[in-house]
């Protein structure tokens, strides 16, 4: 496995137990992210993008179970490592998270400063490696003064970088005193402070107005490029994927369908689903095209390629077996027996 890949998800399968049966939420997903790369994971409801993001982070909700596959981080399989080690070293440190909803991500009871410094106590890049032995209970652990001061300086720096006005005062404020856009900047700051290698952003601008969204997208792009951080960015809004990402991966009903560099993805989509999806975007006063049929239930999903019931090109092969990966050109890959390759 090439070391140029920071994160490599291979053949990951996840299922969820619900009232009505077992939902096959992810079906042998493979995904790789190189250092410094911004990858967009797009898809509609039920496609599995949020589950994939959460599984990499290790925070599957109750009822979710990993059925197979591996998640390689810098060569080691996170799923087979010691859980405490993953929690201490990787989660919140090497891999951080920006959630979708800026309104409920911070505790309303504590000041922003308290919450950020609490984060720094555990996840500061200046904190030594703890290993798995000698674990004091969390309450008892101290926070050495020198490191605390250095951390605080770093916090103020990052707050300035995310354009929070008057950072010292901001630290003393409670979360509800900030607007949605400002809270999202705080979340970005908190994701950057541990100096991660990968940030997982789950629809970070969905809840924001479009002008605020533009500011946040610009900020995010500048900061990650500056610091060389990789980003795994999930969204159902193709426009934001276009803005932010180097590469786009599209998912449908728990399977990955196509992966391509951004321009190639939007200009020369090869997978029938991608083409239909891009076609259904609203255009200026023109025809509106939708996709006939509905997203299948993940409890007892269609066999083979899960898009085949709605696909114009489906054949018996598509129904029988999931397609292999087909290279269109360079890094542009598609899982389809009948990809549409522009001449």
């Amino acid at each position: 496995m090439p070391m140029s890949e920071l994160l490599s998800v291979s053949e990951l399968s996840v299922e969820f137990t619900t009232d009505r049966g077992v939902a096959q939420v992810l079906d042998r997903i493979s995904l790789a992210i190189a250092p410094g790369e911004v990858v967009g994971l797009v898809g509609e409801s039920g496609c599995g993008k949020t589950t994939l993001a959460r599984t990499v982070l290790g925070v599957l909700p109750a009822g979710g179970r990993i059925r197979g596959g591996a998640i390689h981080w810098e060569g080691r399989d996170l799923l087979r490592m010691d859980a405490r080690l993953v929690n201490d070293e990787i989660r919140g440190r090497a891999i951080t998270f920006i959630p979708q909803d800026p309104w409920s991500s911070l505790s309303p009871l504590f000041t922003v400063g308290t919450q950020i410094m609490d984060l720094m106590k555990w996840k500061s890049p200046r904190r030594g490696v703890t290993g798995t032995r000698g674990h004091w209970p969390a309450l008892v652990r101290g926070y050495p003064g020198a490191r605390r001061r250095a951390d605080r300086e770093a916090v103020l720096d990052v707050l300035r970088a995310v354009q929070i006005p008057e950072p010292e005062r901001a630290l003393r404020r409670l979360p509800h005193e900030f607007s949605g856009g400002q809270r999202q900047r705080l979340m970005i700051a908190m994701a950057l402070l541990p100096r991660p290698d990968l940030i997982i952003a789950d629809e970070p601008t969905t809840a924001l107005d479009v002008t605020i969204q533009a500011q946040i997208l610009r900020l995010l792009r500048d900061l990650v490029k500056e610091r060389g951080v990789s980003v795994l960015f999930t969204t159902h809004d193709l426009g934001t994927a276009y803005e932010l990402c180097d590469r786009v991966v599209v998912m449908y009903a728990g399977q990955e369908m196509e992966s391509a560099p951004t321009d190639a993805f939007f200009e020369r989509p090869a997978h029938p689903y991608t083409r239909r999806l891009l076609d259904s975007l609203p255009t200026a006063g023109g025809e509106i095209r939708d996709i006939p049929g509905e997203v299948p239930s993940l409890i007892g999903p269609p066999p083979g390629c899960r898009f085949h019931p709605r696909c114009d090109y489906a054949t018996a092969e598509c129904r029988a077996r999931r397609p292999d990966v087909h290279a269109v050109e360079g890094a542009h890959r598609v899982r389809c027996y009948h990809p549409v390759i522009a001449a």
Binding site: D19, G46, S297
Partner: protein
């Protein structure tokens, strides 16, 4: 109604609710079939001084009282009184309290505030005390007991329905049906009321238990129907001077009251668990299952 059978089926799964249901059924049967089940039906009116204060035995299942009457038979007839009081008192409370609550909740006027303040006044006084005061003033009789209990219990329904109506009016479907042109009467009767029915039913069940207990208290204090009416509370009062020797005299009616009230309370609790979460869960199931969520 298909809905009712569904509720019963769910209820049956909850063991304590089932116990409650059984107890109430037993009460109902006892009242209904009193003439058949009683060993000495005549003893409601007849007295047999020679047989007074006999302990429970083959002839008299729960023994005899100070007049020699069979306690068991008198209890069965007493069940009729108990049910009558409970049903009418709670029924009257519903008939007054629910419309008051609906009107006060739906409209936002000084009249609603006034209605709620009035019911607050009633709620502020301990029910038993109020019932005693009313019954005392009016004199001991069955109708007066029912009156006293209705007067003290209706505010509970009013307040409950008021709160539920106020919270319901924020629901989109109420606002949208109003936007469709529905009159307030239609909205209240056909949309609000069915949606607040569950808490009302739960409260009614628990209210039965409470009302019966209070009625027994009134009877005990001599404010209930006069002898020879075999009211349970009065029977306990009569037994006082003969305790602790004639223990059965107090134990039998006491046990009857206890089981009846507990039955209604258990049923009410069980109904509460079955009725509300079902509706909420049914609606939520479609929205939050992993299949439909943004997975």
């Amino acid at each position: 109604m298909r809905g009712a059978l569904f509720v019963l089926a769910r209820l049956a799964r909850d063991r304590s609710a089932l116990v409650g249901l059984v107890l109430i059924l037993v009460l109902g049967l006892a009242a209904l079939l009193a003439p058949v089940l009683a060993t000495h039906p005549g003893d409601v009116f007849e007295i047999h001084p020679a047989k007074r204060l006999q302990p429970p035995g083959a002839q008299h299942l729960f023994g005899t009282d100070r007049m020699g009457s069979d306690i068991y038979s008198r209890l069965l007839y007493g069940a009729r009184i108990t049910i009558l009081i409970g049903v009418i008192a709670v029924g009257a409370s519903l008939a007054i309290g629910v419309p008051v609550g609906l009107a006060a909740g739906y409209y936002h006027s000084w009249a609603s505030d006034l209605l709620m303040r009035v019911s607050d006044i009633f709620l502020a006084v301990p029910q038993v005390v109020l019932a005693i005061a009313i019954a005392q003033t009016l004199g001991p009789s069955l109708p007066n007991v029912i009156l006293a209990l209705s007067v003290t219990y209706w505010p509970w329904f009013a307040r409950l329905v008021y709160a539920e109506t106020r919270s319901l009016e924020k629901e989109v479907f109420i606002e949208s049906t109003a936007a469709l042109g529905a009159s307030p009467l239609r909205l209240i009767a056909l949309h609000v009321l069915p949606n607040v029915a569950s808490p009302i039913i739960v409260r009614a069940s628990i209210g039965m238990g409470f009302t019966i207990l209070t009625a027994a208290a009134l009877g005990f204090l001599g404010l209930g129907p006069p002898p020879p009416t075999p009211e349970w509370g009065r029977t306990i009062a009569e037994s006082r001077e003969f305790l602790p020797d004639a223990w059965w005299y107090a134990a039998a009616p006491g046990l009857a009251i206890f089981l009846t009230v507990m039955g209604f309370n258990l049923l009410g609790d069980g109904l509460r668990d079955v009725l509300d979460p079902r509706i909420r869960r049914a609606g939520a199931a479609v929205r939050t299952s992993a299949v439909n969520a943004d997975v």
